[in-house]
């Protein structure tokens, strides 16, 4: 029976700015539920009175541990100390938070402090007694199977299954266990200027064409191809030509 710790942060709705469950962290929790008979420990470091935490309880947990730290405190030391005590087989996190600095550093710092293996951007997981098999999601739908020994810290990205709805009754009934923890204040924010994000114009790849007319054409017209044309070939000839082209451009591997 593997024990899994899920680190949950408080998200922020992009339009209204209201606190909500962070979507990636909810996916991490969903992934923990998908492990057969795992003991799931949900942990948050922050304000225990935050109402958005109940959204996680509504996903079907009886308890949620909150390490109570001040608002501008660094959550990493408190989380590390707690996880050291708990010593879970697996720690699941979101790949990026959305309410704070959003650096995505928390999982890496925890893995480094505890000496756990670290795997980023996983879409699926299975675990046996001593190893975990993680499916890592890459751009363009590529996937990689990674086998590691336990314990391991893994971050979950958007390729993971979507989280279930939060049910109101369970959210009301769930219990929040509050543990006192201390956190050194995070000083980076004081050294930075913080201002509202101003959208910047999208950078366009300007063609270095000879004349304005050519540049306008490159911006607005569709590109025309190399233009190899076969007129009324037999179907077999056509099939051979297409297949050879796909192999040449390495779109498909040649079977032989």
């Amino acid at each position: 029976m593997p024990s899994v710790a899920v680190l949950l942060s408080v998200g922020r709705h992009p339009a209204s700015g209201r606190a909500r469950r962070a979507p990636l962290d909810a996916r991490a929790l969903e992934m923990a539920f998908s492990l057969p008979n795992a003991a799931v420990h949900a942990i948050h470091a922050g304000n225990p009175d935050e109402p958005a935490l109940r959204d996680y309880l509504g996903m079907g947990m009886e308890r949620l541990t909150v390490l109570s730290i001040p608002r501008d405190g660094d959550p990493v030391p408190a989380l590390t100390a707690h996880l050291e005590q708990l010593s879970p087989d697996m720690v699941l996190c979101g790949s990026r938070a959305e309410g704070g600095e959003d650096s995505g550093m928390v999982p890496y710092l925890i893995a480094h402090a505890l000496g756990y293996a670290m795997v980023a951007d996983i879409a699926a997981v299975s675990a046996s007694a001593a190893t975990a098999t993680l499916t890592q999601a890459l751009p363009r739908g590529r996937r990689r199977l990674i086998e590691t020994g336990l314990p391991v810290v893994a971050t979950v990205n958007t390729a993971a299954p979507a989280p279930r709805q939060s049910s109101f009754g369970r959210a009301r009934r769930g219990v929040i266990d509050i543990l006192a923890a201390d956190a050194p204040p995070d000083t980076l924010a004081d050294q930075c200027e913080i201002r509202p994000w101003r959208p910047r114009p999208k950078r366009m790849r300007l063609a270095a064409a000879a004349s304005a007319a050519d540049r306008l054409k490159a911006m607005t017209e569709t590109r025309s191809g190399e233009g190899a044309v076969m007129i009324q070939p037999s179907p077999e000839e056509a099939a051979r030509a297409i297949y050879a082209y796909l192999v040449e451009k390495r779109i498909i591997g040649d079977g032989s």
Binding site: G99, I146, T148, C192, P196, V229, I251, I252
Partner: protein
């Protein structure tokens, strides 16, 4: 008592200023050519006129001068211009992802950002790669640090982290830049930051020698500070270096020993059928010229392509709506687009502007899709599809 008779013509002639294409006369004192240079609209206009062509054409954006200049191909190949920074004030280290052994566009942008930092203070850009990578000089690298490819295979983030830390130790760069990419750059940057105990400024969206800024709080806010040592560069935020080649001098790679915790790694086959169009790398697309949808689906399975279609076929329900390619469907970025029976309406072609290789099969030689195609075949889609299925199976079995 006759005074000297004035000769206005002669006086005027005496005041004529020689040179210049317009007649100009000096009134009063003879004007000094010194001082602020005068703008000469005529010569500006002449310089902006595009040579050749029947109609006079004027390009105020410097295009005419560019046209007059020989293109890059016409330049003598014997002496390409190379910029050499022999004794840099400091180094900026850029760590390239180079998925599949070639620089990605995001890598180029990262090196471009490193260039802007280096150029602002007389520094040089060093690029860390594994194995030999082409095109580093064009991308703007002054120094190249290449770790043996065997060490950093396809996926070995622990070895890469050790290599980056060793390179930082060796070069003592002022800044280290990573691409903030899912190919591995974002992961690597955070591993290096955690191991070295330095703060990472992740996903930098704007950067100059005295300020870097990144998004925070779910994208609503922005934090700015003087550029720290470790930064990762957001995609599409910086221009790649395009211009003069740099030296790309090879440096000796440092030795490093990774701490290994990750076990075996196996790449999985792509399940093309379940991919979204925007993610797909190879798309088989059908239009109104396709009637045999069973053969179409079979072809997609055999070739391992993601299915797409024009609006007409989605309207008719042959494919679900999320499979529509085009202006009102998905804009695709696939490497290859295999189009059966698609006419190539502008709304459809807008969806495939980013596609590298297009193959079109159509009965109409004058269809727009045929013009866009790199390989065009004038044939009946219903005959070619089964033939292609048979041919692919035959080749696989052979």
């Amino acid at each position: 008592m006759t005074g000297k008779r004035r000769d206005p013509r002669a006086e005027r002639q005496a005041r004529l200023i020689a040179g210049g294409e317009r007649k100009r006369f000096a009134l009063g004192a003879v004007p000094q050519p010194a001082g602020r240079p005068r703008r000469d609209p005529r010569s500006l206009r002449r310089a902006a006129t595009v040579p050749g062509g029947v109609r006079p054409r004027i390009d105020w954006h410097g295009g005419a001068r560019m046209a007059a200049r020989p293109g890059p191909d016409a330049r003598p190949q014997s002496q390409p211009e190379i910029r050499i920074t022999a004794d840099p004030a400091f180094l900026v280290l850029a760590v390239a992802d180079h998925p599949g052994g070639a620089l990605s566009e995001h890598d180029r942008e990262t090196i471009g950002a490193a260039r802007s930092l280096a150029d602002a203070g007389g520094g040089a850009v060093a690029v860390l790669t594994s194995g030999t990578v082409e095109g580093l000089a064009e991308a703007g690298a002054d120094r190249v640090l290449s770790v043996p490819a065997g060490h950093i295979g396809d996926y070995d983030p622990e070895a890469r982290t050790a290599a980056v830390l060793a390179a930082i130790d060796l070069l003592k760069p002022r800044h280290v830049l990573f691409p903030e990419s899912a190919e591995g750059g974002a992961d690597l940057a955070r591993r290096v930051a955690a191991l070295s105990g330095e703060r990472l400024f992740g996903g930098v969206a704007s950067l100059s020698a005295d300020a870097a800024s990144r998004r925070m709080r779910g994208g609503a806010m922005e934090m700015a500070a003087a550029p720290p040592r470790l930064m990762s560069i957001a995609e599409n935020a910086f221009a790649a270096h395009d211009g003069v080649r740099h030296e790309a001098r090879a440096l000796d790679a440092p030795a490093f020993a990774p701490v290994r915790r990750i076990g075996t790694v196996t790449p999985l086959a792509i399940e093309a059928g379940t991919l979204s169009l925007a993610d797909a790398d190879f798309i088989l697309s059908g239009g109104n010229g396709v009637t045999d949808w069973a053969a179409f689906a079979e072809l997609g399975r055999v070739l391992g392509a993601t299915l797409g279609g024009s609006r007409v076929v989605c309207d008719e329900g042959h494919l679900p709506r999320d499979r529509q390619v085009g202006a009102s469907g998905s804009l695709v970025t696939a490497r290859c687009y295999l189009a059966f029976g698609i006419a190539g309406a502008p709304q459809h072609l807008q969806g495939i502007t980013e596609v590298r290789h297009v193959v079109a099969i159509n009965t109409d030689l004058h269809a727009e899709m045929i013009k866009r195609a790199d390989l065009a075949i004038i044939a009946d889609a219903q005959a070619v599809m089964p033939a292609l299925v048979a041919h692919a199976k035959e080749r696989r079995d052979a």
